[in-house]
Amino acid sequence: MECQDVQTYLADHLAHALPPDTADAVRTHLERCASCGAAYEEAHDTWQRLGVIAAPRADSAAMRARFQHALDEYVQAAAATAPRRAMALPAWAQVAAAAALLMVGVAIGRGTMPAAEPDPQIVEMREELRDMRELVTLSLLQQPSAAARLKGVSYSERLEQPGTAVIAALLDTLRYDSSANVRLSVIDALKPLAEYEDVRRGALDALPQQTSPHVQIALIDFVGEVNRREAAGVLRQIAEDPMTHTEVRTRAAQVLEQVG
């Protein structure tokens, strides 16, 4: 065994991860070669010293209580937002019932409702309410706390038709927000808005800037779905970039194949 071979085995030798034959060969070399022997001794000494540095002990009871609380909150929130189960009717019966209800509704509407203009006051109030929600959304998205920004993203999802300012703020958040959680929630919020050209283009432009593999994968899926062929160039770049995380590259290659 040569010095160069021993160098490649040193880390394994320290961790006792070599097969017995190779470990013997390394040991023999270390005994005979003063330079490799000294290098190993130093590394071994540091490795051993590291082993006795104690870390603070986890306060498991407190952590467990916090975890249980967070889990309970999550389960309650999920239960509150879960859609209620529809009555288990066969598909043909559901279609028939829907059609019947629609016909009854149309008939009643034609017979009883005058063709009235919407009340201007109500229209005005609705617009004010929408403006207010937009304002709250924009304000929350600029808060320093990630929790507040997450709330802002969630507010944006309540808007029936978000204005250009909200869309621009969401895209801005997707590009520059420091929290991967916030960026991930923006991707979800943008999905119903994929009909807008700005959203599709903005998502595609934001993709090369992402560094978190979770966000990269979620965004790759999104742009692959909504941008199709236009996404191919960016996806190819990611799939071929050796500095990118391997799973991200694999996902980019898979989506690239799908968009053809």
Binding site: I53, P56, Y74, A180
Partner: protein
């Protein structure tokens, strides 16, 4: 984890019991901050809940978990840097304990090595913590970091060498012959 992914959230409790202590150990050693480590463990398990659908069949749970942990830590420090730049001196300050006079030489060395570890570049410290304390094989570490196994081994060796240099430097700085002592002043009568 497959049960959690399918919606059996109660099973997450078992994963918490098994992994919260090693995760805390990893984060406490890498950040040098106990409170941050506790917060991050919490954040990691919330992320597991949120992103459970991204866990793939046949994938290693530990690898996935440590990737989430690394992302959570990176996000935490990005936010913290933006709001409140890190006090580097505080990071290097040894943990409170008995004063230097009451420490044995071996204890002092241990404290110096802990300080040297905190002075090591972030990615190198993380690598050494994964390799030395987390009971992970180099193959797993390579997967977590997204690099080749050979690169992990080479980097472990280099990081150890660099850590030793910092450690010896700290030792020299604190050696009695380098210590600044006040000389007795002559009194003119």
């Amino acid at each position: 984890m497959i049960a959690v992914r399918s919606g059996d959230l109660a099973k997450l409790g078992a994963l918490f019991e098994r992994y919260h202590a090693p995760l805390f150990d990893f984060l406490a050693r890498v950040t040098g901050d106990r409170t941050a480590a506790e917060d991050l463990v919490q954040d990691i398990f919330v992320r597991i809940l949120k992103y459970r659908a991204t866990f793939r069949d046949g994938g290693s749970f530990e690898t996935w978990l440590y990737r989430i942990a690394r992302n959570a830590r990176a996000d935490y420090f990005r936010q913290r840097m933006a709001l409140d730049p890190l006090d580097e001196e505080a990071l290097e300050r040894p943990a409170p304990g008995p004063g230097p006079a009451r420490l044995l030489e071996s204890d002092r060395d241990r404290a110096r090595l802990a300080r040297a570890l905190m002075r090591l570049r972030d990615d190198k410290r993380e690598l050494l913590v994964l390799a030395r304390y987390q009971d992970l094989r180099y193959e797993q570490i390579a997967e977590i970091l997204g690099i080749e196994v050979g690169a992990v081994k080479v980097r472990v060796h280099r990081a150890l060498r660099e850590l030793r240099e910092i450690f010896l430097q700290l030792r020299d700085e604190n050696a009695p012959w380098n210590a600044k002592t006040s000389r007795p002043t002559l009194q003119i009568i």
